[in-house]
Each structure stands twice: as C-alpha cells, then as structure tokens.
Symmetry: C2
C-alpha cells in the first residue's frame, strides 16, 4: 500500500489473515476486485453453503473448526458431484475484529485449503451486528457433461452411503446439553468423538473420480439421510427401500441405539453427516466398491432403488416400515 | 417432490420464489447440490459481495431494491473487470419467512437477472437470528488472460470515471435523516434521486468490452473514489493527480457542494457509487470515449496517472491539495 491511511480495517484483516492463503495465481494476491479461474476445457461445478453461528455452529466452537466446517460442507458437495476442487471464495460477516479468533480461523481454513487442494481465490469481509456468518462458494472441475446429478437413479440400483450416519446430529445434541450428553455421561471419549464429527465433517473427495465413473446418482447427506434420499428419489422419479439396521453407525452410536437412548429417526433425520449417498447399478457395484477400498472410504449398501414415486421406506429388523415423523432438518 | 413431507420450509421457499428464476440449463432447476457452468474456452471471472441489513441497506428498504443492489454490486465488479455476466449464486440468510417480502425480493432479482443476462445458477437459504444478509457470488466470461486488473495503470494515463460520484453516499445520509436531508428539505425530487442512487446502483456492464480493449487498469468505485483510486494506484505502483472540480456530479449534488452543505470529502470518501474508475493511455482515449458514447455511458476525465507511490492528490479549483481526513468507507 502506498500509504498507511489507504489500508482500512477490512484491508488489514485481508492482508494479515487471508493473503497468505491466496497462493493460487488466479487469486491475484487478493489485490483485485475479482479472481480468475481457468476452466481447462472442463465444466465448472459450483456449490455454495453458508454456516451461521448459533444455527450451524456454536459461538464457542473453536474458530479453526468453524473455518474447516465451512469449507468442508462445500467440498462435500463437490465430492458428491464427482468434481475435483478448483478453489473457493469466502464471505465473512463479522461482528467485531478479534485477532486471536481470526488467526485461528485462517489457520484452520489454510490447512484444509492446502490438504484438499482447494485454494482461496477471493472474498468479501463485511461487518454485521448479528451472528458470525461464513459463506463459501466453491468450484470444482468435471469433464464436460459428467457432473454426477441427483437424477440418474434407476430401479434395481444399490443405495450406498459412505462413513457412518447420525454421529454429527448426536454431537450437536451433546454440545447443547441434550439427552445424548446424559446418556454418555460416563463416556467422555464417546462424547468427544461425536462432537468432533459435528464440528469437522470428513468430505469424501477421494471418491469423486469413482462416483463420476460408476454412480447413477449422488448427493451428500447434509440435512438428514431420510430427507436427502427422498430428494434424490424425487429428482430421479424413483423410490427406494432401505434396510435401517444396515445403515452404518459408529460404535458409540450403535450402542446408544441398542440401549434405546436414541431412535432411528434421530440418526436418519438429524443431518450434518456430510457423507455421500449414491446409487450404483448392480453390474458396477464391485468395481465401485473396489475404488472405495482403494480410496480408504468406508462404503455400505443400505438398500435398493425401486420403481414408483412413493416416499422411500425404512424397514426395521423385522421388515416393518418405520414411521418417521420428520425426514430432515429444515431451517424454516 | 414425491411427498409433501419431503418439502421442508427451505425447499418450499426455493421452489416458490427462486426456481422460476433458474432458467439456465446449468442451474439444473435448483434440484441439485451444485450448478454447472460452461467456460466456453474463456476464463471465469469470479467476484463475491455481501450486503447486510443495517450496514449496506436499511431494514425498510423495498425488498426488490435490496435484491437488485445485491446483484448489481457484483455486476459492477464484472463490468470493471471487462467480463460479460455468466450467472450467479445467492446465499440468503433470513430471520423469518415473509412471503410478501420474498416475492418482491425474487421479482426484483429476476428482473435484473434477465436484463443483465446473468441467470441464477444456485444458492443456499439459511436461517439467522441476526440481520438479513444477502451474499452473491457472480461469474463472468473473459477471453483467456484478458481480465482487466487494477495493476496496469501507467504514468501519463488518463484517470476516468463513469456516471456521477457521491450521490449514493448522500442518499444514505438522507435515509438516515442526516444533514443532507435537512439541506434538501424543500427538494423532494432531489432527495428521491439521491436515495434511488443509493438503493439501486447502475452497473456499467455496457462498457465491459471497451474496458477490456482500452483500459490499462480498472475497478469499480464501491468504498469511495479516493480510497479506491489509492488502491488502484498501489496495485499499479503509481500515483495520480485528480482535479476535484472535474469529478462528475449530479445537479443536486453539485448544488449542495456549491452551497457548502457538503464537502468534497463527503463525495470522494462516501462509497456506494458503483461507477467505474479506470485509466486509459492517452493514445487510446478517443477510441475509448467513442465506445462509451455508443454504450450511452457518461465518461469524465478527472486526472492523470503520475509516477511515484505517494497517495493520489485531489486539487481544488485553485490548484491546492485538498486534505482528506478519510479516503473511504471501512467496515472495521
């Protein structure tokens, strides 16, 4: 800067905390109004997700985990769409400037941007009298017309999910001092594991290439498995039958369910899983499963795509339909 | 949707108000997790700007103007960078669901998306306990490596701005019941004109092609002419000399200045102009001015780029340097 006076508080925040992250040439050192992204002859896949203090994260969550969650929920969308990360822009609405908080936030963001090879390209920092809000728009590359959509599921396809389901919703309940916190009063390690799943999801970007090659439809589970599967089925004009006991659960979650401390509904309507839900033709299943093993991503068959447009059904161990009062988390 | 239960409040907002705007094939009808943008062999120019209730707009501003401003501040960046609009994604953080408000917001957004040929590609709707926040990331096309940057200004170049400067800052003062409101107590038409400039800026997208062809550097004036020129000069490692009386002003603003009701500083440090500030080599000036005339964009020479890295100087009618206590609006 030519003169000290030219650097506003906003410029100074950007210079101090975010310029070090803007290593990609297209970011122009965050010195311009816009960034440049080269498409390399591919389609750009664009996703945007915002997280709000008190809604998607808690005010006392560690700032580095807030940053990582904000980026990872977007990376999870790119993964589900079979796209490779190309970069992101960040909008930060801040109530005040807390240097310790910002330094930790930028550190977490930078670490994930580097490890997922998704560089910061630009952004906007604004003041707000309200809750801290982190809005990220992320970009991915996919070969022309190869983005995996929600709409390709066919009757007979397997329904698959990565990782485990329900942990994050239980983690949130613990942070809010709910009944899961009580149920795990004697299990601090179990509590910590669930809270960690809520705070820092594990996007499955390692599976993007395999999804593009083999999945007939895919999306990430962000609002709850039941609701998200319903959306995928609706987009594909199909239904599905899910074997609830086969839904993958972490040991802590499985134990809570067995004890009756939680219900299946808590797991499948809870949200914040950021696992991948996909459908794969039976003939491609083995090849896909092999790719998942190579990528070290846990993959579980949980059901089958059916013809029809009725809402997907979840069956219990006796084959009876589970009545779900709600399917997912909704903001409104 | 397969079942009524599958449609959450958030889905319903999207279906009712925003799907009608998502006419581009890449938006996938807002039925997917991501959008697809075809780069057509060009660079993607990416810009992001958020506006917050109580900071960038007022709670009782008409919802259609809030939507239009949110999109136009981004369109203005694309224009300044010489990029043609390709689309945008919207993140809306809402305190509650007010159907009348949302309908008007979507109507304003749709009208501008259509007239600027910048379709809605996707978005995220989240709840917030805080102020309404509208965050938009917009995309533009520019031929490879042709985005106009801030960094190309050369000594001897003309410094030019489009439209008029300062009106929006005065409009905000009026809405806040400040001294400009008093000074224009007898001039409701003048007040309305300034308020309109604050609420709905006029992005200069018609000038994008000419800027790409002729400008050595450009940016849009969003935080104040003085501060933004200082940034452009810093990025270009030059300085500038500005003839303050030649800064283009609307009749109302010019009259206020003449009466001493406002100072030059109010105009050049006020922000929210969303006009284009650019530098053009003298040899290209006539061709550029001709293009501006064809595009019906008012263009005014206000000074000259100088060698050196001192802060740009604004001279008054007697050629004396004007001391500016502040250069621009800063959030922090």
């Amino acid at each position: 800067m030519a003169d000290e006076r030219a650097m506003s508080g906003e410029d100074s925040i950007i210079a101090r905390y975010f310029k070090p992250l803007a290593t990609d040439a297209g970011a122009l050192g965050l010195n311009d109004d816009a960034a440049v992204l080269k498409a390399r002859g591919e389609d750009l896949v664009i996703t945007t997700d915002a997280i709000v203090e008190g809604v998607h994260f808690l005010a006392n969550d560690p700032p580095d985990t807030i940053a990582r969650k904000a980026l990872r929920v977007n990376l999870s969308d790119l993964a589900a769409k079979g796209a490779f990360p190309a970069g992101f822009v960040l909008t930060l609405a801040l109530r005040d400037v807390d240097d310790g908080w910002l330094a930790a936030f930028a550190r977490g963001l930078g670490a994930d941007a580097a490890s997922f090879e998704c560089p910061l390209l630009g952004g906007d920092t604004v003041s707000t009298p309200g809750p801290l809000t982190v809005s990220i728009t992320a970009f991915g590359h996919a070969p022309p017309d190869k983005m995996v959509q929600r709409s390709g599921a066919k009757p007979g396809d397997r329904v698959l999910v990565t990782g485990t389901i329900g942990d994050a919703a239980l983690g949130l309940d613990i942070l809010r001092g709910g009944r899961v916190a009580d149920a795990l009063a004697d299990d601090p390690a179990g509590r910590d594991a669930l809270v960690a799943r809520y705070r820092v999801p594990e996007p499955r970007n390692a599976l993007a290439g395999a999804l593009r090659e083999h999945a007939s439809a895919a999306m990430d589970v962000s609002d709850g498995l039941a609701g998200d599967l319903t959306k995928l089925c609706a987009a594909s004009a199909v239904s599905a039958l899910i074997d609830a006991p086969s839904i993958p659960k972490s040991p802590t979650t499985a134990a809570l369910l067995k004890r009756g401390a939680i219900s299946v509904e808590t797991l499948v309507a809870g949200g914040d899983d950021y696992e991948i839900l996909c459908t794969v033709d039976e003939a491609r299943y083995e090849a896909f499963a092999e790719r998942a093993r190579s990528a070290k991503v846990e993959l579980t068959s949980i059901g089958t795509v059916l013809a029809g447009t009725h809402i997907p059904q979840f069956l219990d161990e006796e084959g009876r339909a589970i009545v779900l009062k709600r399917l997912s988390y909704s903001h409104f």
